[in-house]
Symmetry: C2
């Protein structure tokens, strides 16, 4: 059911330093920073040949990644995002298997303009999993 | 310089449960479990269309992921692996930029039979980064 790995999201305390790490030290292509006020983050995409890394920095007072950075002050991998063809069908299948959706069961529009859901890390090998309709 | 995301490694406390999560709940293709005594892990690969997820479970008394699972008893994302064309050249470039190699500077043969190095998480946005010669 799950398809491509859409992205790996890394929360970072210093976006400029993270951009320098990926652009200069690792030599990757990075996009300009983009504020996403609806999602409480500023994002930079690292383009790899087969997927992307999404660098996330808190934006505003209620950023969903603020607590993660309190626990992980140097930053860390925040979530992985898998693509699915039909997010409602995927949700129904996973809920029937006992997986829990974080927040409302209705998919909302994510940072890429597509419907997304998050699955509870306790049901997903300790990792926060985002599903995005491809 | 870095190329494809070769894999995302997830350390798991219960390999059978992790396989069930990826195979049954998420509906992905998973490989048979394989003991890798030289690396202190048992691995299962989750094949995605563009990359793979590597489920890691400790093997033996000195597994390199044992401490990670003590800190993260439910499991969690252990590292990401980026491909490079020439690992010695990549190492030299990164060391010149101030990044630190974990362990000896000479690449060793990793779980896929190819030369690998690990970079210090403190220099990599709080994430453990493996480089593998493609």
């Amino acid at each position: 059911m799950i398809g491509r790995l859409n992205h790996v999201a890394i929360a970072v305390p210093d976006l400029g330093a993270a951009v320098a790490t990926y652009r200069d030290t690792l030599g990757a292509q990075v996009s300009p920073a983009e504020d996403q006020p609806d999602h409480g983050v500023t994002t930079v995409f690292v383009d790899l040949p087969n997927t992307k890394i999404e660098l996330l920095h808190p934006l505003g007072d209620n950023s969903p990644i603020a607590k993660f950075l309190e626990r992980n002050p140097a930053g860390g991998i925040h979530h992985v995002c898998y693509e699915v063809d039909d997010i409602a069908a995927a949700r129904d299948r996973m809920v029937a298997q006992g997986a829990r959706i974080l927040g409302p069961a209705e998919p909302k529009i994510g940072a890429h303009g597509k419907p997304v859901l998050f699955l509870h890390p306790k049901d997903m090998c300790g990792t926060l999993v985002e599903l995005e309709q491809a």
